[in-house]
C-alpha cells in the first residue's frame, strides 16, 4: 500500500497549511478514500511530533547570549555621544547654572571623553572575540610579533611571553583606538582573552593605573615609557592587576 505519486506534494502542502481552500478540501477528501496516502500523511504527522520533542532544536548557550548582550551594549555605547545636550538645562538656569556648567565643562567633559575611550576599548575587545577577528598574526613567539608590528605602527611596545605567569601570548592584531592605529597584543587567561591595546601616551596616568568596569568587562589603563596601555578582559579584576604586574615585570623598564 503506497501513496499516490501525484498526490505527494499536496500531502506535504496540506501538512504545512500551504494549500488554498479548494486544494486543501480536495486533498482531505482524497485522504479519506486512499489508505496509502492517509498512511503517508499520518507518518508525516508522527515525524512532525517527533521533531517537536524538546531538545531537538538547539538553544543558544548562555555564553553566547551574554556575548550578544555585551555586543549590543558596547555597540550602542559607541554610537555618537548624547551627553553633550545635558549641559543645556543647566546653562539656562542663571548664575548657578553657569557655575555648574563651568564645573561640568571642567570635570565632566574629560570624563565623557574617557568614557568614550573605554567604550571604544570594550567594543574593540568584544569585536575581537568574534569569528576570525582575534589576531592578524597568530603566534606565541614574541620575536615574530615585534617585527610584524614594527612596519605598521609607530610604537614599539614590549611583547613579553607571560605563559609562566599564567597568561600565554596568543598573537597580535591592529586596531584603531582614540584616533591611533594601535596594536592589540592578545593574551589568554585559561579560556578568557586579554586584549592589551597600546598607543602613544598624551599624558601620564597614576602609577597604579585606572580601573573601570563596563558591560561586565574590566578595563585597566596605565602609562609607561611614553606609552599608554589598556588591558581589557572579562577576567576577575584581581587577575587583571596580576596581568599588569606580570607584564611590567617582564618588560624592560625604560625609565631607568
Amino acid at each position: 500500500m503506497s501513496a499516490c505519486p501525484d498526490k505527494a506534494m499536496l500531502i506535504h502542502g496540506l501538512l504545512d497549511g500551504e494549500l488554498d481552500a479548494i486544494n486543501a478540501a480536495a486533498c482531505e477528501a482524497h485522504l479519506t478514500t486512499c489508505e496509502g496516502c492517509n498512511a503517508e500523511y499520518q507518518r508525516l504527522i508522527a515525524l512532525r511530533e517527533a521533531l517537536a520533542t524538546p531538545g531537538v532544536a538547539h538553544r543558544a548557550p548562555e555564553r553566547l547570549r551574554a556575548g550578544v548582550e555585551a555586543l549590543i551594549g558596547a555597540e550602542a555605547g559607541s554610537e555618537p555621544a548624547r551627553p553633550i545636550r545635558r549641559a543645556a538645562p543647566w546653562a539656562a538656569s542663571g548664575v548657578a547654572g553657569l557655575l555648574a556648567a563651568g564645573l561640568a565643562v571642567m570635570l565632566v567633559l574629560p570624563q565623557v571623553a574617557d568614557n568614550g575611550l573605554e567604550q571604544q576599548l570594550v567594543a574593540s575587545h568584544v569585536r575581537s572575540l568574534l569569528a576570525n577577528h582575534l589576531t592578524d598574526v597568530a603566534t606565541s613567539d614574541q620575536h615574530v610579533i615585534r617585527p610584524w608590528l614594527n612596519g605598521k605602527v609607530d610604537v614599539a611596545p614590549p611583547v613579553p611571553e607571560l605563559a609562566p605567569e599564567g597568561f600565554p601570548l596568543v598573537g597580535g592584531r591592529l586596531d584603531y583606538i582614540d584616533g591611533h592605529v594601535a596594536p592589540a597584543i592578545v593574551y589568554r587567561r585559561r579560556a578568557h582573552t586579554v586584549n592589551l591595546f597600546v598607543w602613544p601616551a598624551e599624558r601620564r596616568l597614576f602609577d597604579g593605573g585606572r580601573m573601570v568596569r563596563r558591560e561586565g568587562y574590566t578595563v585597566l589603563e596605565w602609562t609607561a615609557g611614553g606609552l599608554r596601555y589598556a588591558a581589557v578582559s572579562d577576567i576577575d579584576p584581581g587577575d587583571l592587576r596580576q596581568f599588569k604586574a606580570a607584564f611590567e615585570a617582564h618588560s624592560p623598564d625604560p625609565s631607568h
Binding site: 531538545g55 531537538v56 538553544r59 553566547l64 561640568a104 570624563q111
Partner: protein, 208 residues
C-alpha cells in the same frame, strides 16, 4: 603598588548619574524585535555548520551585522531578516575554510555533552525520570539524524519543521523557487523517515 585600592578619579555626584542611562532607541528596539530570535538563529547556524563553536561565532557575527543594519530594516518578519544575515555569515565561514578542517569529536564525549546540554532544557511536561531519559535519547537520535541529512535538504527541513518558516520565506531565503522548496522538503522528510524507520516505530510506541 601592591595593597593600594584601585584608583578612581573623583567624580561629581551628577557627573555619572546625569548621563542618560537609556540606550539609543534603536538599541532598545533591536532588543525587543531581534534579540528574541537568538535561540532560533543559533539553532539554524548550528544545523547549518554542524559545529557548536562555529555556530556561536556565526551568530555573534550575524548579530553584529544585524545591529549595524537594523536602522535600515524596513519591517517585515524580523526572524526571516535575521536568518538571511545568519545564512550569509555561515557562507562566509564556509568560504573562509570553516568546516573543511572540522574537528572530529569523540562520539562518547559528544553524547555526554549533549546529554548534559539537554539536562538543562526545561521540559514542562516531564513526569518521571524514566520518561525524561527516553525523551532525551529521542532528542539526541533526532539531532543526529537531522545532522546526517545532506544539504540543501537539511537546511530546508530545519527552516520548515523547527523554525516554522513558510514556503515563501524559505524560497526567498535560499533563493530558489517555491517548487524547489517543496520538493526538497518532501525529499528531506522521506530521508528522515527512512533513517528513523527502526526507531520510528519504537518512538510511536513510546508515545502511546
Amino acid at each position: 603598588m601592591g595593597e593600594r585600592k584601585p584608583f578612581f578619579r573623583p567624580r561629581l555626584a551628577f557627573s555619572r548619574d546625569a548621563r542618560p542611562p537609556r540606550e539609543p532607541d534603536h538599541a532598545r528596539q533591536f532588543r525587543e524585535v531581534v534579540l528574541p530570535h537568538l535561540d532560533a538563529a543559533y539553532n539554524f547556524a548550528r544545523y547549518l555548520s554542524r559545529d557548536p563553536t562555529a555556530a556561536e561565532d556565526i551568530v555573534q557575527d550575524a548579530f553584529l551585522r544585524a545591529f549595524k543594519a537594523f536602522p535600515n530594516w524596513r519591517g517585515g518578519a524580523p526572524k526571516a531578516w535575521l536568518f538571511a544575515i545568519v545564512r550569509n555569515c555561515f557562507l562566509d565561514w564556509v568560504a573562509g575554510g570553516g568546516g573543511a578542517h572540522k574537528v572530529l569529536v569523540d562520539e562518547g564525549a559528544l553524547s555526554e555533552a549533549q546529554a548534559q546540554a539537554l539536562a538543562n532544557v526545561a521540559d514542562p511536561d516531564q513526569t518521571t525520570p524514566e520518561e525524561a531519559l527516553i525523551r532525551r535519547r529521542e532528542a539526541e537520535t533526532l539531532r543526529a539524524v537531522i545532522e546526517n541529512l545532506p544539504e540543501p535538504f537539511r537546511e530546508t527541513l530545519v527552516l520548515r519543521e523547527l523554525e516554522e518558516l513558510s514556503y515563501k520565506e524559505i524560497a526567498a531565503l535560499t533563493a530558489v523557487p517555491i517548487g524547489t522548496v517543496m520538493s526538497r522538503l518532501a525529499r528531506a522528510r522521506q530521508m528522515l523517515c527512512d533513517m528513523l524507520q527502526p526507531q520510528g516505530a519504537a518512538l510511536q510506541e513510546a508515545r502511546r
